[in-house]
């Protein structure tokens, strides 16, 4: 599925890189430890996290992730927003907690890193 379709289906609010939502996601990874995401996420994955620090954009850029969804209504820090725009990394937010969001993503056909 494309990020744009997920945004539509899950009613996500896009906070950065609105012009880069046509990428098809390869799966998802949920973690709040940046080092863990560096080690285990796969290219084209959507990353689900509650971390809002600008380093999340660095991690997403390094791992060539499709985008980041912040859960629990968490808003990115200003530096994070700015960096996400510069690096063209889609940054979405939702009020849903991580467990619920991941469940919904699975229902929409987005699997984990193995698929």
């Amino acid at each position: 599925m494309k990020i744009a379709e997920l945004v539509q289906e899950l009613n996500l609010a896009v906070r950065a890189a609105k012009g880069n939502l046509e990428r098809v996601v390869t799966g998802g990874y949920a973690s709040d430890l940046l080092s863990d995401v560096l080690a285990h996420s796969k290219e084209g994955n959507l990353w689900i996290t509650l971390q809002i620090h600008q380093n999340i954009v660095g991690v997403a850029s390094m791992k060539d992730l499709a985008g980041i969804i912040l859960v629990n209504g968490r808003e990115p820090e200003p530096e994070t927003l700015e960096k996400a725009e510069t690096e063209n990394i889609p940054l979405m937010v939702t009020e849903m907690p991580a467990f619920e969001l991941v469940g919904r993503l699975y229902n929409l056909g987005v699997g984990g890193t193995e698929e």
Partner: protein
């Protein structure tokens, strides 16, 4: 006994997230200008610029302590301050052996190694922004093994802090102090000395926060005594 104003947590241009102007002579100049008697250099997971700033400090008459800010596997930041360059290098070896990954300048920034005159002598290729595979306990033990002072960084922050990452301070953790980035009430329930530091990544941040010690001289040994309230040494405020 005299008042020594210390900012024990400064980064240099070696930290990928720090400003490239954070160089040895500029840091020392700025520290003196804002009235600091003592600083400590704590870059992320590396101490390769510490000696340069120590030497620049010796030239200018500013006490500079070499240290590093180590990232645990739980992504908790712990400061280690050391008396000697040799001890600091032992700690750095230990960190390097347990720090996976290579830096991406585009993603995280450059990691510039300088000499005491601010000349660029190289770049550190390691993923200094990353986490080591060491636990908080292992890091604190290692710092003490090499006679260092272990301080949990910015415990009032949500991210990269001992309380933020682990929810509370693990019982029995042998820290010498907690660092806060501003006055905060949450640490008062813990039985550790509290210091305040700037965690400066930019020249203008140096000395924005600092700690006043009543000690005999501006040395790490005296700071250690003050943290333990030994022989009349003490923390005299922020």
């Amino acid at each position: 006994m005299r008042k020594v104003r210390a900012d024990l947590h400064l980064h240099t241009c070696l930290s990928p997230c720090a400003d490239s102007r954070m160089q040895a002579t500029a840091i020392v100049e700025r520290a003196k200008k804002v009235g600091l008697d003592m600083i400590a250099i704590c870059d992320h997971n590396s101490a390769e610029n510490a000696a340069a700033v120590v030497k620049a400090g010796q030239r200018a008459g500013l006490a500079v302590i070499g240290g590093m800010e180590v990232t645990s596997s739980e992504e908790v930041h712990i400061l280690g301050l050391f008396d000697t360059a040799a001890d600091l290098m032992y700690m750095q070896d230990m960190v390097y052996e347990n720090l996976p990954g290579e830096n991406s300048e585009e993603a995280f920034g450059s990691q510039i190694v300088i000499d005491e005159w601010d000349n660029v002598v190289g770049k550190n290729p390691r993923l200094l922004i990353g986490a080591t595979t060491l636990t908080v306990e292992q890091i604190v033990d290692s710092i003490h093994r090499w006679a260092g002072v272990a301080i949990a960084s910015h415990v009032d922050r949500e991210r990269f802090s001992l309380i933020g990452q682990l929810g509370f301070i693990p019982q029995g953790l042998d820290l010498d102090a907690l660092e806060v980035s501003r006055s905060c009430s949450t640490v008062l329930e813990y039985d550790y000395p509290v210091v305040t530091s700037s965690d400066a990544h930019f020249l203008d941040d140096i000395g924005r926060r600092s700690t006043c010690f009543m000690i005999e001289s501006a040395s790490l040994g005296e700071i250690r005594k003050a943290l333990r309230r030994e022989m009349g040494r003490r923390i005299a405020g922020n």
